[in-house]
């Protein structure tokens, strides 16, 4: 019942991107986000599209996996695109009753959809090619400088990896409890909203009890192994930059520079597209 939830959807394969240091990939993802918001004309769009698809190609993850992540934000996309189409003032190209659709609206909606798509695809490249453990390692080391201002980076990273590790355990547990209560006649998909919410009590109570018990056991097991935080702790597989990582940093920065240049040196094409569209209609 609950098993369809996938988080930390790592795609196992052998590729350049998979082998990269997680810090490089985190950096690349952040840069990708910034570029997505710098996108304003045809050239930036073309460049970014090229870069993202090159990254996907290099990662050897099937493109369909990238699009899978879009499903979860489909509603958000439809809503924001809808608002933009119907609420933007400008040159009307189509109208029924009180509804007016303007060129500007359509353009804005397209922009939003493209932006959201690229954000999801950019982050998907990261999460699909990096195991949750490597990701937290990368975060811990990449944000290590924050320790100087007394941010407990190691502890936060440990919490994150434990949380990630517990997700599949808890969904499995929830699945089992739901089945057990269904066997006692509980019904989760019938009745009004209130009834459904009430039907979850017999699932949530045992789930929380189990989660607390597990957390207690884990804490005890960590104590028993003398865990006492990040101080003086070494890694079995310490993160070290290789030549590929250094090259990648260079490539990412070069790509970001080209997008920045395209944004500021090329004239905004939107006006031109509007003219073109109004010629046609």
């Amino acid at each position: 019942m609950l098993r369809d939830i996938t988080l930390g959807q790592y795609y196992q394969t052998e590729s350049v991107i998979h082998r990269l240091d997680p810090r490089v990939k985190l950096f690349g993802t952040v840069i990708c986000m910034i570029c997505v918001f710098m996108m304003n004309n045809g050239l930036t769009f073309a460049l970014l599209t090229l870069y993202i698809f090159m990254a996907i190609k290099l990662s050897k993850v099937p493109v369909s996996f990238m699009f899978r992540g879009l499903k979860s934000i489909a509603l958000l996309m439809v809503l924001s695109a809808g608002f933009n189409i119907f609420m933007t003032e400008g040159d009307v190209i189509f109208s029924v009753g009180v509804i007016h659709i303007t060129i500007q609206g359509v353009m804005l909606a397209l922009k939003i959809i493209v932006r959201l798509t690229y954000i999801v695809m950019g982050t998907s490249v990261l999460t699909l090619t990096t195991t949750p453990n490597r990701l937290t390692d990368g975060l811990e080391k990449g944000l290590g400088f924050l320790k100087k201002i007394r941010v407990p980076v190691h502890e936060l990273a440990m919490m994150m990896s434990i949380a990630l590790r517990f997700i599949p355990i808890l969904t499995e547990e929830a699945d089992r409890i739901m089945k057990a209560q269904a066997a006692r006649g509980a019904c989760f998909d019938e009745g009004k909203f209130i009834d459904r919410a009430k039907a979850l009590v017999p699932v949530l109570v045992p789930l929380f009890v189990a989660a607390f018990k597990r957390a207690g056991d884990l804490a005890l097991a960590m104590e028993a192994r003398c865990y006492n935080g990040g101080e003086g702790r070494t890694k079995m597989y310490p993160l070290e930059y290789t030549k590929a990582d250094r090259v990648s940093y260079f490539v990412i920065i070069a790509a970001a520079a080209s997008v920045t240049a395209a944004r500021f040196l090329m004239p905004d094409m939107t006006g031109f597209v509007y003219d073109l569209l109004s010629l046609i209609t």
Partner: protein
Amino acid sequence: MIIEFENVDHVYDDGAAAGVRALSDINLKVRDDEFIGVIGATGSGKSTLVQHMNGLLKASSGKITFDGRNIYDKDFSLRKLRDHVGLVFQYPEHQLFEMTVFDDVCFGPKNQKLDPEEVKIRATEALKMTGVGEEYYDASPFDLSGGQKRRVAIAGVLAMQPDVLILDEPAAGLDPAGKTEIFESVRTLKKNSRITVILVSHSMEDVAEYVDRLIVMDNGRIAFDDTPVNVFKNVEKLESIGLAAPEVSYVMRDLKEAGFDVSQDILTVDDAVDEILRALGSKTDPGDR
């Protein structure tokens, strides 16, 4: 009342077990008033099998009928099916959630939409059957010991008064005394009513002496479906699928091979003692026991 499986397959298509064929080509009939043991090594499909009996899992192909009606028909209520087929999961104490023991046992009958008086009567009966004392009725289920929690959880299913009671590893994680107690209450329950009881276990010793019929699972298939005595004659085959016959069977087999005239149809230590004494005949005085 009959549950019938016809060529049932189950392939997991979600989560970690994706693509695993957990059941293949299962054909079996569960009738009234039977005492059945389902045995198999870990991962042989025992739990998957019993979860089909009350419609918690849906067969990938094949047909399951209850009283002649296909349980996957649109107008067949799986909820009604679960009134008739009660399933107690492994570690059932993990499903307790109410404030008091009594309320938790009432959960099942309440879902059956019985009137409050009847719910109370059934809950009381069920708690008595599983041997939970009245002093615990108002206690929080989370304050009980492991064995007591388990009794309460089993009572929670019994209170629905099913025609078929399935217990998935009811004694897992209990000490030998607790184990015997649970099995003895199941035996008493079976003796006093005409319900069908299905005991799922990976341990031959546990179920052999209780059940009348044994279904042995191997890799999602039914390897044997016979009386315990007949099943245990196939010691080699049982060992090859990761199981073992009860210790007594080995003793009796070795004795036979050593030339003693003993029967192979022995399942319990007590019967074995009698049989050996009988074979030894006049040499020993049975009174010495």
